[in-house]
Symmetry: C2
Subunit: 201 residues, 2 copies
């Protein structure tokens, strides 16, 4: 809440901080106070890092990952398996898979999901590039690592259809019980899917 | 977690964001992705606002409030009651009282609390300025709006002692049941204090 007590420079900082995911109006004030107490060690370096990243970080021309080099570090890494492309919704999901060490191949970032309700069609996503990459002889498998939501599944079906004549096998992440998950707390849909996809022990 | 997937500029931004209160390593990544998507509307303005506030926002020479003008807007406001000084731990508490519209007088920001365990003594806080202000003839009451913690109460006692010969009445915020608070969820200390300080209806 803007009050006369908070000067315009500080209020603008708080308003901008409050736009970040994970910070609300109140935690933005706490963050602003923290930053003012840490001007040299955090506040000025953060201002520089924001500017620097805004200038240097670009989407990779090949896969859409964000990096300061183009092609990005993943695309440039000769040790990665070029035969498997993992399709993700956005860069955050790519980072999640990297954190898990779950994929040793390359990626393709769609930049969103098909969503008729929100007016997101195939032309709004990086689908053309994916189909072109899938036709590369080196690529044999496309893993669709898309969320298990309506939009995610819509997108997966669309991609599966359009990747049909690229001569690749299209796979998707398995669905089931999360590691460490209690059955009692799982939703019925996940439990039913896990039962249907049961495997021999 | 730093991985080769995340370039150095981006990693440094994430590391700095993760230092802010309310953001951890994972939410800092989410925030960085959000900012990269909103470069012009949020990311660059935030970089500028951080730098601008770091340069312009200073502690008020009179009360210690943070503002880009000195004396701060509260001290400069002629409509405020100069007879009542409200002593707070830091600027966040001043903002909280302003948000509540709870105080129409002036403030004094201590910049911390006495804490023998953490090695914070009277010389580390703005206590000298408070005592000088308390001796001003216009000031008749000092409200200690300090937290109801051990350090807060230690500080309150110290201030009460040292304000003894300033010729002002020293008061403190009442303790009791928070507005909207269920008795069942309150700690025993608060309930006992509320009972001791009961008032006629």
């Amino acid at each position: 809440m803007p009050t006369a007590t908070i000067g315009p420079e500080l209020q603008r900082l708080i308003d901008l901080l409050a736009k970040m995911p994970g910070l609300g109006p109140r935690s933005a004030k706490r963050a602003a106070l923290y930053l003012l107490k840490k001007r040299e060690p955090v506040m000025r370096p953060l201002a520089f890092a924001l500017d620097d990243a805004a200038n240097k970080v670009k989407a990779c021309n090949i896969c859409g990952n964000w990096d300061s080099i183009d092609p990005c570090a993943v695309c440039a890494d000769a040790d990665r398996d070029s035969s498997v492309l993992c399709v993700v919704q956005d860069v955050g999901d790519l980072w999640a898979l990297e954190r898990a060490g779950a994929h040793k191949g390359r990626y393709h970032v769609l930049g969103g999901l098909l969503s008729p309700l929100d007016g997101v069609g195939p032309d709004d996503l990086h689908i053309g590039g994916l189909i072109a990459r899938a036709k590369d002889d080196a690529v044999t498998e496309i893993v669709l690592a898309l969320p298990a939501t309506v939009d995610g599944q819509t997108t997966a079906h669309y991609l599966t259809e359009h990747l049909g004549d690229a001569g690749v096998s299209v796979t998707r992440l398995s669905q089931g019980v999360p590691v460490g998950g209690e059955l009692d707390y799982l939703d019925e849909g996940t439990l039913a899917a896990a039962m249907r996809a049961r495997r021999s022990f």
